[in-house]
């Protein structure tokens, strides 16, 4: 559905995107991960025909973004990162305008706008001016305008930024439902989001692809960490922990009363876990809490980037 070949984009002298290639199949949800300034927005702007690449070929839905931009633009819905909307319009007027300009037949404009407002939970604010609605609702209007004509390809630049947890959940459910019928590319900083939503992730750093895989694989590749909270004598526990096999390191967390916290970094998760279990039983420590920590983007990142440089 989307083919990117040797894509390079330069702003003057500065190379923001450096020779990136990837493809996205129909119905797939692809996550774009990377730190600030990695070039995610730049790639998305090229995919949406906002500006052409310096070098490289970009095909969306079978059309060339550069030569056949109108045909590409007919088939995409785009949520820019800044969510630029016409502040002086009402939510429903705005969505009707977008529906119409995207080629919805006049008879269906009202119905389509109403449906997308329903899907995105905007019915309560439909008669409000966009300048007066809250940030989370703005974000939803942004998503709604991308969805309004049921496009084949959706390009969402950080779609869940600024939403409250309940809204994040709703929007994620919405995006998940889109998979299959629609092809989605979304960028984000949040790793859990990627594992929930995306079938595949591309991690970019300084304009280059540093990793491309399924989220599970990326996660298992990087170091696992576990939080332990144990009642007892802290130095003794720490000493015992560091003796367990399969563990790379132990860090102290702030204690509360008699309960001491430790973060262990596994070398070999399975062996380490069994070792800890055995150690606690042997010493008769009182275990209060034990849970795997989410692998953070930073961890994967630091790992990948340092691997690159090594």
């Amino acid at each position: 559905m989307i083919e990117v070949e040797n894509l390079t984009k330069e702003y003057g002298e500065f190379r923001a995107v450096d020779n990136i290639s990837f493809t996205v199949e129909k119905g797939e949800i692809l996550g774009f991960l990377g730190p600030n300034g990695a070039g995610k927005t730049t790639v998305m702007r090229i995919l949406t025909c906002f500006f052409p690449p310096t070098k490289g070929k970009v095909m969306v839905a079978g059309y060339n973004c550069f030569e056949d931009s109108l045909n590409v633009r007919k088939r995409i819905g785009y949520l820019p990162q800044r969510v630029p909307l016409y502040e002086d319009m009402k939510v429903d007027d705005y969505l009707r305008f977008v529906a119409a300009i995207k080629g919805t037949p006049a008879k269906e404009v009202k119905r389509k706008a109403a449906k997308v407002m329903d899907d995105c939970g905007l019915s309560d604010v439909s008669h409000k001016l966009i300048s007066t609605i809250s940030g989370g609702y703005r974000q939803r209007v942004g998503i709604a305008q991308a969805l309004v004509n049921d496009p084949e390809v959706l390009i969402l630049d950080e779609p869940t930024v600024g939403l409250d947890p309940k809204q994040i959940k709703e929007i994620r459910t919405l995006i998940k439902e889109l998979a299959g019928r629609h092809t989605v590319i979304l960028s984000t900083h949040i790793l859990p989001e990627v594992s929930i939503l995306c079938g595949r992730v591309i991690i970019i750093n300084q304009g280059k692809v540093v990793a491309e895989d399924r989220p599970e694989n990326l996660r298992s590749e990087s170091a696992q960490r576990m939080l332990l909270r144990i009642n007892g004598n802290a130095p003794l526990i720490e000493q015992e922990l560091s003796r367990v096999g399969g563990i790379k390191g132990v860090e102290r967390e702030p204690a509360s009363g008699d309960t001491h916290g430790f973060v262990v970094v596994f070398d070999d998760e399975k062996r380490g876990r069994q070792g800890i279990q055995a150690m606690i039983e042997k010493n008769k420590f009182e275990l209060v809490e034990m849970r795997l920590l989410e692998v953070s983007l930073e961890d994967i990142f630091i790992k990948l980037v340092t691997k690159e440089e090594a």
Partner: protein, 260 residues
């Protein structure tokens, strides 16, 4: 070009014009200024006519003049200049604002040709200017009610004003495409409009051939003859070329934005 897209953009732009204060302020200022000049011209005319009743010398001189010469022609000239002062305030936001707020990113990724975007915005502004011009029709209507002016120069004078306004807007939308700062856009329009206006004054300073050429390029030289009731095809061609040129430049400038 897609008529539906043009009219969608035109509609949105018009709504946005009339939901901001700027348009109302511009229209009120325009009416106050033109109204003031109209009042002055009529007052002078009536005082002079009154004096002419008791002064045969003045009356003889004055018969050569008439209401068309002393009120209507200067009135069109003045309305034209005030129009040139006002249009940059209307055109400055057309593209600069979209660039500043980032809405251009969505607009240009909608399946719409750049031509439709530019035309829609251009026509929306033209509609506002036509409204302003239409409101001044009260002045000649008053003249017709209380005097006996010739009607043809009034009609052709209005044709001239409309063309002048349309030309000024095309230049304004071009300067709006160059920057994301509305003040810069308006200043550039003022500067360029006044350049095209003052070209008319340099006619006497240079050789006859060049002078005539510069006079032809001047933006308000052409409404002069129209307010006398003369419609020359070269005048109309001038304005149409002016408009086409600046709309074309606007398109190129939008395109160049994408290229960077």
């Amino acid at each position: 070009m897609n008529i539906r897209n043009v009219s969608l953009i035109l509609n949105r732009e018009l709504k946005s014009y009339f939901s901001s204060l700027t348009v109302y302020i511009v229209i009120i200022m325009f009416l106050l200024m033109t109204g003031y000049f109209f009042y002055n011209l009529v007052a002078t005319f009536s005082i002079v006519s009154f004096q002419a009743q008791s002064d045969p010398m003045l009356a003889k001189q004055y018969q050569l003049l008439n209401i068309n010469e002393t009120v209507i022609r200067p009135l069109f000239g003045t309305i034209g200049i005030i129009l040139l002062l006002m249009t940059p305030l209307l055109t400055m936001r057309l593209l600069a604002e979209e660039k500043k707020t980032g809405t251009i990113e969505l607009l240009l990724t909608f399946p719409v040709d750049d031509v439709d975007v530019v035309l829609g915005k251009y026509l929306a502004c033209l509609a506002v200017v036509l409204t302003m011009i239409l409101l001044t029709v009260t002045y000649p209507v008053l003249l017709v009610a209380f005097g006996e002016p010739e009607v043809v120069p009034i009609v052709t004078g209005y044709l001239g004003l409309v063309l002048l306004g349309a030309a000024a807007i095309s230049l304004g939308i071009f300067t709006s495409s160059l920057t994301e700062n509305q003040i810069v856009s308006a200043s550039l329009s003022f500067a360029m409009l006044f350049f095209f206006w003052f070209l008319g004054y340099s006619v006497q300073l240079v050789s006859a051939g060049l002078g005539q050429f510069l006079g032809y390029l001047s933006i308000n030289e052409h409404i002069e003859s129209m307010s006398k009731g003369v419609v020359d095809s070269t005048d109309i061609i001038y304005y149409l070329c002016f408009i086409a040129l600046f709309l074309f430049l606007t398109l190129r400038s939008l395109e160049a934005k994408r290229w960077r």
